[in-house]
């Protein structure tokens, strides 16, 4: 077994620094290590064993073990293994060695742990705020357990501003966002421009404050959370919904019935279809080609209708509960879906043929926004960005979930490393998705949609789940807990990693290429900004409904 073999190699090299390990089932490995050895072990796993970095998680475990916890997650894609290297830290003044100089991709995750849990990554070179707003008081960490979900911190200072770096010599600072026609969601890039060339940039994002993770571990219950999870993202919501459910199922060793797995697969692929078509449209809009933008959205529309027919909603499908799904695919929907796929294929084929021959689009996108293999490795880039650089990763095949292990499909890769390759990857993946849905409709067996779960879920178990979202791998980490809710739930959307590659992708490029470079990762800021904590001055005692929360996201202060 792969997990055992990896573990024995680690034990061989690091001996007693490995305190204990947990191998709950195929494809999962949890290793608990000495804090002092964490960095060396991560370096070994990342560089020598060539694992892919996923995310780092911090958790306040003081009410249970009296300690803080930090975990670095890695994936061995070829061996279908997800692993978490965890360590416990003392309760007062928790510090951990920063791994971001050996694993550059951990930059944001460590800053986030510093902001929200208050664990200091020692040796981090750029320890500015990432998640918390600028005016948030120092030393208040909202994801600690002693910080109530509805608490209003003392000393919020509206006038405090983020300290940006000095621009390099001879460069003008051009702000890009938070409000800009090509950004559908707020984020701020401070571009350093020399003439028409971008020489660098600094990022300040996390402007969509919703506090979803905090709510999940303090207010919601296991089966409420999927409905909240899909509101993390407006485009790939179902991905988060499924990924969360799978993470809990993996922690509690629950296997949903096969029909439910097929339905999950179908909905995920429907989501990929509409997301990729949406992206092609947006990318065309960015390069100033609105005709194809309109065409691809026209082709996309029937997919939204069929989603509405299945789930009652165009976007938020409310699909999963722990141990199953809520909607069935009826025989009439099945027929309709088949017809739709035929029509979609017939319409999309000529578009792809036209686009792949179009000299103008190629001119705009070839050699633009380069993300090569080294950058993919160092920044942990995922999804079409990685595949466009010839890095053959796809969680559907590498870490099979739902019904993907019973289906036959190809992982599309290109070697151009540029925006053009990303266009091709996405355009071709549409056909693979059509293929997958057809197979699901063919193979889907009758049976129950949900398991009846009578017992309480076990407490203190760790669960991981990686789901291939249209933008790349969405990774969910769950620690199960008491009161029918998880102790900790950490979501890593694909854009979280992909955005960190942007400064390298736009450096020394024309300003005109900056927007399509950013667009080519299909950025989804809401996904990335999913956490951050409770609103400041409102609702101290009442229970928050989802509508109120949504309203909150639209007004800065209530």
């Amino acid at each position: 077994m792969v997990a055992r073999e990896k573990l024995s190699r680690l034990k061989e090299k690091f001996g007693t620094a490995i305190q204990r390990a947990d191998l709950p089932g195929a494809g999962r490995l949890f290793v608990f290590v000495e804090p002092a050895a964490l960095k060396a072990i991560c370096q070994h796993v990342f560089r020598d064993l060539d694992a892919r970095y996923i995310i780092s998680i911090g958790a306040d475990d003081r009410p249970f073990s009296g300690k803080f916890m930090v975990a670095h997650n890695f994936a061995f894609d070829k061996e279908s293994l997800l692993t978490s290297i965890a360590t416990y830290l003392p309760a007062d003044n928790p510090k951990v060695d920063s791994i971001s100089d050996v694993v550059p991709a951990a930059n944001w995750a460590e800053r986030e742990i510093h902001d929200l849990i208050g664990i200091e990554p020692v040796g981090h070179r750029y320890l500015k705020r990432l998640v918390l707003p600028d005016g948030w008081p120092d030393g208040v960490h909202p994801l600690r357990k002693d910080f109530a979900w509805n608490q209003v911190p003392e000393g919020y200072d509206d006038t405090r501003e983020f300290k940006f770096d000095e621009p390099p010599e001879g460069c003008t600072v051009v702000p890009f966002g938070p409000f800009h026609p090509t950004l559908d969601e707020p984020a701020h890039f401070r571009l350093y421009i020399e003439g028409e060339m971008v020489r660098g940039c600094e990022y300040r994002g996390f402007m969509v404050h919703r506090g979803i993770e905090k709510l999940a571990e303090s207010v919601l219950t296991y089966n409420d959370i999927p409905m909240m999870a899909e509101r993390i993202c407006g485009i790939c919501g179902c991905v988060h919904n499924v990924a969360y459910a799978q993470a809990v199922e993996s922690a509690a060793a629950i296997k949903p019935p096969p029909r439910a797995e097929y339905i999950r697969t179908i909905m995920l692929e429907i989501e990929r279809l509409h997301s990729h078509l949406l992206w092609v449209g947006l990318a065309c809009h960015i390069v100033g080609f609105d005709t194809l933008f309109m065409q691809s959205w026209r082709i996309r529309e029937p997919i939204m209708w069929i989603a509405e027919k299945i789930s009652g909603n165009r976007k938020t499908y409310a699909l999963c509960v722990i141990g199953g799904v809520r909607w069935d695919i009826t025989p009439e929907v099945k027929d309709e879906l088949r017809k739709l796929l035929d029509k979609l294929e017939a319409e999309w084929t000529p578009v792809v043929a036209a686009v792949s021959k179009d000299k103008n689009i190629q001119k705009r996108t070839r050699g633009v926004g380069i993300a090569d293999r080294a950058l993919v490795k160092n920044m942990g880039l995922v999804g079409p960005v990685a595949r466009s650089a010839g890095v053959d990763i796809d969680c559907r095949r590498d870490h099979p979930y739902a019904a993907y292990d019973r289906l036959d499909f190809e992982v599309i890769t290109e070697g151009g490393c540029d925006v053009w390759s990303r266009v091709l990857v996405r355009a071709k993946e549409v056909f693979e998705s059509i293929k997958i849905i057809r197979q699901c409709l063919e193979k889907m067996e009758d049976g129950p949609l949900q398991l009846t779960i009578k017992d309480e879920l076990p407490v203190g178990r760790l669960g991981l789940s990686s789901v291939e979202a249209p933008r790349g791998e969405s990774h969910h980490f769950v620690i199960t807990g008491e009161n029918n809710r998880p102790r900790r739930w950490r979501v890593r959307a694909p854009t979280y990693q992909n955005l960190q590659g942007i400064p390298a992708m736009i450096k020394d490029q024309q300003l005109a290429d900056m927007t399509i470079s950013l667009g080519s990762i299909d950025p989804c800021f809401s996904c990335t900004d999913r956490m951050e904590t409770i609103d400041l001055k409102s609702g101290v005692t009442k229970v928050w409904t989802q509508e109120e929360l949504l309203k909150l996201t639209r007004t800065k202060k209530t």
Binding site: T172, V174, P175, H180, P181, T182, I193, E196, C284, H285, I286, V287, G288, F289, D290, T291, M294, Q295, R298, N360, I361, K363, R364, Q510, L511, A512, D513, M514, T515, I516
Partner: protein, 331 residues
């Protein structure tokens, strides 16, 4: 000056203004309708019968908005810039002959007059960018200047070629020379210059670039520069820029028609008149709209490459070729 002359002038001034205004308003609608059809959707349909009153609604909306001059902007220049874009377009129309008799002023240097006023356009966009005191606007202004300078050169080289071929700067005479069947149009006069169609395409491309139309709309490039030089303009200030774009398209297309397509001359040698001029001009306008919705925006550096590396050498070559041909033919 006699009373009738004064009256004629008044009528013509009102006529030109109405022509520009109506064109600007209804070309916007035509553009939106056309774009809609290219994209398999109906375009605006709500206001008036099949959306015919949409330009009125747009105009009223823009007029109702507050004109904001941002703090730190140069208020005088900021307000002057929209006028400077609009006025040259109107001035140019004063010398453009719509038919044998329908012309504001038939002057001998009509050709130079139109291009001289056309060049003011660049300065106006630069002023708007500069006066706004906005980084996007200034980047856009810098782009517009380098773009328009780059495209002014091949355009004027083409104009010189035409001037040599026709031997006059009077627009009226240029059209008169093209009388008869359509092979008398300058576009098909291969005896003057075998590369005449190429010259036409160069002229048309430069016209697109000069009017800042997609795929050369670097000035506005909304996905990069928000609204470029017009970012800070609100209400009718923006509206005037918008209308001026279409007014300039009308002037550009009118010049294309006069220089290459035989102006008001009928293609069959008989029945010439204003109707042919308008038909040809709007056909060119339609092509301009068509091009916009067919090609993606080029990058700025490719745009300059196109001009300096292809269009200028080509237009220089046609100029020399015409000169040689004239010498050879005359000899």
């Amino acid at each position: 000056m006699s009373l009738s002359e004064l009256l004629r002038m008044l009528v013509y001034v009102v006529g030109v203004m109405a022509f520009v205004g109506l064109n600007a308003a209804y070309l916007v609608l035509a553009e939106r309708k056309g774009a809609g059809r290219f994209q398999r959707r109906p375009g605006p349909t709500e206001v008036g019968y099949a959306g015919w009153l949409q330009p009125v609604a747009d105009g009223v909306k823009l007029l109702c908005k507050q004109l904001i001059v941002p703090p730190g902007a140069d208020a005088a220049l900021f307000r002057l810039a929209p006028l400077l874009v609009m006025i040259p377009a109107m001035m140019s129309l004063a010398v453009i002959p719509f038919s044998e008799t329908l012309v504001g002023r038939n002057i001998n240097v009509g050709l130079v007059f139109v291009f001289a006023f056309g060049a003011i356009n660049v300065m106006a966009v630069m002023l708007s960018g500069w006066a706004s005191r906005n980084k996007y606007a200034i980047i856009s202004a810098a782009r517009v200047v380098s773009q328009d300078v780059a495209y002014e050169i091949p355009m004027l080289l083409v104009v010189i070629t035409m001037l040599m071929a026709t031997g006059t700067m009077n627009l009226h005479e240029i059209v008169q020379q093209q009388a008869g069947w359509f092979w008398h149009w300058n576009l098909f006069r291969l005896d003057l210059n075998p590369l005449m169609p190429v010259t036409f395409i160069i002229f048309f491309t430069c016209m697109l670039a000069e009017t800042n139309r997609a795929p050369f709309d670097m000035a506005e490039a909304e996905s990069e520069l928000v609204a470029g030089a017009f970012t800070e303009y609100a209400g009718m200030g923006f509206g005037v820029f918008f209308m001026a774009e279409y007014a300039n398209i009308v002037v550009g297309c009118a010049m294309t028609t006069l220089l290459f397509l035989g102006g008001w001359q009928s293609p069959f040698g008989v029945g010439s008149g204003v109707i042919w001029f308008l038909l040809k001009m709007y056909a060119v306008v339609f092509t301009v709209i068509w091009v916009r919705w067919t090609f993606p925006r080029t990058q700025f550096y490719n745009l300059l490459n196109l001009s300096w590396k292809i269009l200028i050498p080509l237009s220089l070559f046609t100029l020399i070729l015409t000169a040689v041909m004239m010498k050879v033919l005359r000899a």
